[in-house]
Each structure stands twice: as C-alpha cells, then as structure tokens.
C-alpha cells in the first residue's frame, strides 16, 4: 500500500497541487493496488519488444528555416523573448 506522504511527494515532483487530498489519494492508492496484479504475470524472462528503424530512414541533415513567426503567437512574450517567473 502506497503511503500518503509518498503520493504528496510525487505530486510535488509533477508540479501538481492536490488539496482535496483524501479523494485523490484514495483513488490513486486504489489504482496502484490494482496494478499489483502485474506481479502475477510471470513475465520476468520476456524480452522488450521494440520498434526499430535503420539509419538510412533518418532525416537528412539540412537547414530549412521555419518561415512563420512563432513567438508572436505565444503568450507571455516580451520583445522577442518568452518571460518566465524567477526561480527561487
């Protein structure tokens, strides 16, 4: 069973505020307990099945300027910069 403190710590890492704690924490704990079913799956020896490509399929190294002005369409910009809050 996952502890409340651990869930609060993870929420902080994910920059998620959970103030109606009990409801969220309750549901998350329920779901994580459900995930324990994976322990029964007996898949230790399985190889990971991964997608592959050859090096020829990769993008050519060419400079192609992106024509449209992007920064002006975003919020929070000053001059030609994006503004972000100070860091503590």
């Amino acid at each position: 069973m996952v502890s409340k403190e651990e869930i609060e710590h993870i929420a902080k890492l994910m920059r998620i505020e959970i103030d109606d704690h009990i409801v969220h924490i309750d549901r998350v704990q329920k779901i994580i307990s459900y995930f324990d079913i994976l322990d029964k799956a007996n898949v230790e020896s399985e190889e990971l099945d991964v997608k592959e490509q050859t090096i020829e399929e990769l993008r050519d190294d060419k400079y192609i300027p992106y024509d449209e002005k992007l920064i002006q369409g975003l919020k929070n910009y000053k001059g030609s910069y994006i503004r972000a809050p100070k860091m503590s």
């Binding site: 959970i18 990971l48 490509q53």
Partner: protein, 480 residues
C-alpha cells in the same frame, strides 16, 4: 437533401451536379444549430465554412476539385487545426490557438475537405464517456441520458447525429472504437504507424493513433486513403505502399479464418452483447468464414499494463503544459517559477490530475522496475501471444465493449470498473494491431458494436471483413 448520406454518395451527387458544396455545408450547419445544443458534440465551429464552400464549388466547376469535394468533416479537439482553438477539452489549453495544421488535417484540406468544427472529448483524451471534458459531456443521440462513449465521444455523436459526414478521432485504448460502438457508427484504429501523429496532441505516444470515424465502412476506407501513409514529420510512421483501401472492399470473407477471443467474450459480458456477438459470428459463418476459439492469456493483465504505460507517458507528455507559452490567462507577475507552474496546473481536471500523479509514481526511482518495466514485458508477451494467434487465423473477433452503453454518472466513481470497460479494446493498442468497430445491433434503443482485430498493415483485409459484416444487418436511423 438527405444529410444521412455516405461520403461516397456525397461525392457522386456533387459530381453529378445534384448538390453543391455550399448547399450541403449550409444544411449541415443548420442541423448543427438544431441539435447540438442538446448533444454538445462540438466545442467550436468554423465560421468561415460557407465561405470556404463557395471556393470549393468554384474549383469543382473548373473540374479542379479535390477528392473530398467540400464534404463537412469534424476534427477531435486534440488535433491541431491552424488558426483554431485546440483545447483538448481542458481549461489548461483554453486559449491555445494552434499555429500549424496536423499532417492529417493538411492532407484533408489538400483534398478540399471542409473542417466544420472541433469536437468534444474527455480532457486530454483520458476517459471513455466525455464526462471528463472540462466543457461538459456530449450526449448519446440514441438516448441522451446515456454516455456516447469516449474519449472521441464528440466525433462519434457528430457523425451519428448527421452533423458531419465523417470525423477524425484518436484511439489510445479504444477511444475511437468505444464511442463508435456506443453511437452505432464505424470507427477504425489503424495499424500503429499507418497514420501520422504530427499535430495530434500526445497522451500516450507509443500506442495511440488517429482514427477515421464514419457511418459506413466504405467511408472509413475513403478517409484512410486520404490521410494514411508515411510522413517525414513523424518518425514512427511506416510505408503503406500507397494502398487503395476502397479497391475490392467487397472481396468478402469466404475461406477466411476468424478467431473468437475467449477472454473478451465470456466473463463480464452483458447478455445482450453476448447474444449480438453470437449473431455476428453466425453471420460470418454464413458468409463462408470458419470460426475457432482463441485464448490470449495476457488479456487479464492488459488493462493494468495499459494504465501503467499510459500514465507514465502522459505524465511526461503533459509536462509541457506549464502555461508559460500557451494555455490560458494567468499572469505570472510576482510568482516564483515552481509555484507558478503548480498553481497553473490546477486547471487540469480531476481525472488528468490523478493520471499525473500515477504518471509520476509508476516510473519513479524504486518503482520503475516493479510497475513500468513489468507492464512493458506484459505488452511484449501479449504481442507474442497475439502474433501466434494471427498465424492460425486471419483476424480476431470480440464485442467492442463488453457492456451496453450506460447512463451518465454510473461508472464515474469506481476507477477500476471504469478501466475495465476498456478491456476488449486496449489489446489492439498495446500490440499495435489494426482494429475496427462495426455497428451491429440496436438493443432496446442502445447500440452494440462488434470489433475485428487484424494483422499489422493488413488494414485493407480488416476493412473487407468489416464491410461484409456491415452488409448482413440493416440498422434503424438515429432518432434525433
């Protein structure tokens, strides 16, 4: 003018001069104005649609019209359409106007499709009822007290209620097939890599696909012809050798072997769904297919594996929503960096918030081996099992959803019960295989769909079987 027209019929009528694009688009907009206040399929509409229709009509007159001939298409609001709000049904992206078109949208526009509006979904595609949309749920046009399915609920409603000819949704764990089944339309999740995801706002990028949704199987094939194929903007797309999915769609299933997935058709299935499934099986037998039972043992772990993997990917894919460059109005003056982001992300709804926490937990140091790696291995083993099965049979069959459509509020409080609605559909996503939902029956006014799952890059054969099944039933018209 009948709005319940198929895409192919529409194109024919336009070519014959029986209707014009402007007429059809106007009628569609009238229809939307009439029913959408009840159904809430759309989050935003294209106010330039009629203007664009006039332009297409001119092109058609000079024999220069694209394959879509101005047909009205709706797009799920997690797919970028240039110059439109693309909100993912989230307050977090309330004011995000996309500066570019998704590849699928460019391809449709090139063929003169007209995007009439963006459709509702569960927030960031996480859910299967649209009850998690931050802007209110969509209603099932067959009975507005019932959920339309999700997450591409808005798309399914729009197509089913004749508010457009076809739509593009996205399918991560059943999000195209599930609402297609609940709304009695056709929905395809193609082979992973068949359709470009450039411009699809990522939820779980290693398993999701954009999927065409329409009222007939032929229309889905028509849409696939326009949007499928390799894209340099998406490294995960594969070459489909410019397949024509409409060609020989009536090839039938004579001599084909169909496997019935034991784990998806026996336990936990509503009895009406079960009986519909058996009818579908016998219809296939009458068409000359042979049937056998297939067991996929890993199915019982598939939902846990699915939610583990998607939570991890979602936790990372949604990290960019810090409201600094796009999002909604919330001034950063006076805030410190980390506290601003945490405050800003309170605009995620409760379901997304929970997935973020799961997504932080599952891959975190100390737990990654237990949950994430195990889930990846279950995914691998399930893939081997299904590959073995597809050596013995040509495709697999199951009901799309094990239960009938349910009422709003019914399942929302029990997370596990909600997850298990997905149990028949997540397998196709985890294993990258194409799967389609075909509307099969209306039982006491509620739709039931049958799912077919096929070999990778054999989407054409899947469509042929779906077409054959579709033509064994005649379904009533939508009652709205």
């Amino acid at each position: 003018m009948n709005l319940r027209i198929s895409a192919l019929k529409y194109v024919e009528e336009i070519k014959n001069g029986n209707i014009t694009t402007e007429e059809f688009i106007s009628k569609t907009i009238e229809r939307i104005q009439k029913v959408d206040s009840k159904l809430h399929a759309y989050l935003s509409l294209n106010d330039k649609a009629i203007e664009q229709a006039r332009v297409v009509d001119k092109k058609i007159k000079s024999k220069d019209g694209g394959a879509c001939m101005g047909m009205p298409i709706s797009i799920k609001d997690n797919i970028c359409v240039k110059g439109t709000k693309t909100t993912c049904a989230s307050k977090m992206l309330e004011n995000f106007v996309s500066p570019y078109d998704a590849t699928v949208v460019s391809r449709l526009k090139e063929q003169d499709a007209i995007i009439v509006g963006k459709t509702n979904l569960d927030e960031f595609a996480m859910g299967f009822t649209t009850e998690f949309s931050a802007f209110g749920p969509s209603k099932n046009p067959w009975n507005t007290e019932y959920v339309p399915g999700g997450s591409s609920g808005g798309s399914a409603v729009a197509v089913s209620a004749l508010e457009c000819i076809a739509s593009l949704g996205s399918d991560t764990g059943g999000s195209v097939r599930n609402p297609a089944s609940f709304c009695s339309i056709v929905g395809l999740k193609p082979t992973y890599g068949l359709i470009s995801r450039y411009g699809l706002i990522s939820y779980s990028n290693s398993i999701e696909q954009i999927g065409p949704m329409a009222r007939t199987v032929e229309d889905v094939a028509f849409m696939l012809n326009i949007i499928a194929g390799i894209d340099s903007h998406d490294n995960t797309t594969v070459d489909n050798q410019k397949q024509d999915y409409l060609k020989e769609i009536d090839a039938g299933v004579n001599g084909k072997k169909i496997g019935i997935i034991k784990e998806m058709t026996q336990e936990g299935v509503d009895k009406q769904v079960s009986s519909a499934t058996n009818k579908a099986i016998s219809n296939f037998e009458k068409l000359g297919a042979s049937i056998e039972e297939i067991s996929l043992d890993m199915v019982k772990y598939s939902v846990a594996a699915y939610y583990t993997i998607t939570a991890t990917e979602a936790g990372s894919n949604l990290a960019r929503y810090d409201n600094l460059r796009y999002g909604y109005d919330f001034d950063l003056e006076g805030y410190e960096f980390n506290s601003y982001i945490s405050k800003a992300r309170r605009n995620f709804g409760p379901e997304v918030t929970r997935r973020m926490i799961l997504g932080g937990f599952v891959p975190s140091a100390g737990h990654a081996g237990r949950y994430f790696l195990k889930a990846m291995k279950v995914k691998s083993k399930l893939t081997s099992e299904i590959n073995e099965a597809l050596k013995k049979v040509d495709m697999l069959l199951s009901p799309t959803v094990p239960v009938l459509p349910f009422k709003f509020g019914e399942k929302i409080d029990d997370p596990i019960a909600l997850f298990l609605v997905d149990i028949n559909t997540v397998t196709a996503n985890l294993t990258g295989k194409p799967a389609i939902s075909v509307p099969f029956e209306i039982s006491n006014g509620l739709p039931i769909g049958i799912q077919l799952l096929g070999k990778p890059l054999h989407d054409k054969q899947l469509l042929q079987a779906a077409y054959a099944l579709q033509n064994t039933v005649k379904l009533p018209e939508v009652p709205i």
